[in-house]
Amino acid sequence: MKISAIITLKKDVLDPQGKVIHQTLDGMGFKDINEVRQGKYFEIDVEENDPKKAKGIVEDMCKKLLANLVIENYKIIETQ
């Protein structure tokens, strides 16, 4: 089944890319933005079909490789 993981920077971590995107959007006329934070999205197809177990596998991946927990948070979503 397909499981998604969203990796985002923690609140206190500087995100220069997000800032530049914010400025560019602002320049394009999108004036009502408070903040832009850039993250990563993974879609992982695992053999496991039990949603709980599949999410557990992807969570393990997040902890061990996909996210760096010093600066990033992860969120796991069942997509299929």
Binding site: V13, P16, V20, L65, N68, V70
Partner: protein
């Protein structure tokens, strides 16, 4: 004295490091990332470059490669390990060093000479050095050292800050900080002081006719400290 330089797919300072180590008396071996065994070594160097194309996070893939199990064991048993630039990024990804290296504050790849000041000399890498301020070269996109407040306190208390970015006279100030690193940190040590990670490249400063000699001082001192 025996050294090993690990080559990952995408390493590009490995041969410069080999030249530097041999010039100052190390018997160096190049070790492929997919090998299991580390040759008998007094020093292991993780060189600069762009291992695995900097995919996911710089150094994250290389930190999981086969040889790294041996490098981690070597470090945990007290062996000396140095990571330069991408090597530093790999070391933080293994957890041997605290913190992370973020994208440079102004989103630019920085390639220039900088001055660095030695933070602490009570470690095998910098002890006995006469000079405190060195001119080294940096070339990186992700050298912005970041850690939590608790980690920062811990590394300051344990004298783990190896080097700071500074000016020619050794003033450590935000205006001499090229990449936004916390406290101008250019390199750190682990708690036990046998693992060093630094963004500047001493191996690019070993020949007066090409660049400078400050790297020579570093390597000469290092081999004398290990002997």
């Amino acid at each position: 004295m025996k050294s090993s330089v690990i080559t990952f797919p995408g390493s590009n300072c490995d041969r410069d490091m080999d030249v530097a180590l041999k010039k100052f008396g190390f018997k160096n071996k190049m070790v492929w990332h997919d090998d299991n065994e580390l040759p008998k070594s007094d020093l292991v160097v993780l060189p600069g470059g762009f291992s695995y194309g900097d995919y996911l996070r710089c150094g994250s893939m290389a930190s999981k490669s086969k040889i790294m199990h041996s490098v981690i064991n070597f470090a945990k048993s007290g062996g000396l390990v140095v990571g330069i630039c991408n090597g530093f990024q790999i070391l933080v990804e293994t957890g041997l060093l605290p913190g992370v290296l973020l994208r440079n504050k102004y989103l630019e790849f920085i390639c220039k000479n900088v001055f660095i000041k030695v933070g602490h000399k009570e470690n095998p890498f910098f002890k006995n050095l006469e000079k405190n301020i060195f001119e080294f070269h940096i070339a990186h996109n992700e050298g912005n050292f970041f850690c939590t407040k608790d980690q920062l306190k811990e590394i300051e208390d344990n004298k783990q800050i190896a080097i700071y970015y500074c000016d020619k006279e050794g003033h450590i100030d935000e205006q001499f900080n090229p990449n936004g690193s916390i406290k101008n940190i250019a390199g750190i040590l682990n708690k036990e002081k046998n693992v060093l990670g630094m963004m500047p490249h001493p191996e690019r400063m070993i020949d007066q006719s090409l660049s400078g000699e400050d790297g020579s001082l570093f390597f000469k001192n290092l081999i004398n400290n290990i002997k």
